[in-house]
Symmetry: C2
Subunit: 166 residues, 2 copies
């Protein structure tokens, strides 16, 4: 792809964006979460070009979020199923959807509701700290280099940046 | 911008993607969450082109995530501060970062850790249902048109799609 690559940046946001940071990938994943698996199905729902869809499906497959599974042998046809890595993107999608519901609905309410299959109750996403269960807010946290931060990036300049923000 | 617009789609994922679904916007927001406010600062951290940065900052400002605030009058200079809408994107970013930590760290651990300012404990994001506190998983939910779903889209074909997946 003809753009800056982020997959080797020491940042999980950059690495994630490298895989899904374009306008179509999140929508393809949304369709997959709705149950879509077939090329023609994605095409019909999203109305994008065949080339673009093929390129994005290949990228999501190569990146590990989807896997290609044959569903007929003659003619050979494949469908795209979510892998565990792909399914684990669902909470991120829910957080994004919730943010859109809050800020981009123009007071009309959520266009799509997500409900509990058993109880039918509307669910809405909240991002909390895994251990304390507290809502994660910008005000209460700070960032620092973690165990996976490459030594070569640990320059005084980079480290200062984290100190300053502390 | 020369691409499909999603801001009028009846879907909060599409509307969100319309604003931040490119490779640079999430990284510009990441920098803003780290405390960056100045054009030259974003430029130095991200190493992107001036034109691209100016275009993305304008889009995020127009979209309501950032606001332009003058910090000197002579010469006139502006900085970019997060609005409440922009700050509310932080949990989405944390969920994305957590997903990247889990799936894209190649076993090396998180490149960046986020810690509680008071206790210093490492925090990690978990997306739960706001009411029940239960982890949101794909298996336990289904989608349906909500109060903000436009009547004109309520065709038999569209509604069937939600019924089938139920």
């Amino acid at each position: 792809m003809n753009r800056t690559r982020f997959d080797s940046w020491p940042c999980s946001v950059a690495r994630s964006v490298d895989l899904v940071g374009d306008c179509w990938s999140p929508l393809i994943l949304r369709e997959a979460f709705y149950g879509e698996r077939r090329f023609e199905g994605f095409l019909a729902s999203l109305g994008l070009g065949r080339n673009v869809l093929a390129e994005r499906l290949a990228r999501l497959t190569e990146g590990g979020l989807l896997k290609r599974v044959p569903y007929t042998e003659r003619p050979p046809r494949f469908e795209y199923r979510l892998t565990p890595m792909g399914k684990d993107f669902f909470p991120v999608m829910m957080a994004l959807m919730q943010w859109g519901d809050t800020w981009l609905s123009k007071g009309k309410g959520a266009p799509i509701e997500v409900v509990d299959r058993t109880s039918g109750a509307v669910v809405s996403a909240r991002v909390v700290d895994a251990r304390s269960g507290k809502l994660l807010t910008l005000r209460e946290v700070r960032a620092r280099p973690g165990p996976g931060f490459p030594k070569k990036y640990k320059t005084a300049k980079v480290l200062a940046r984290f100190r300053v923000r502390g």
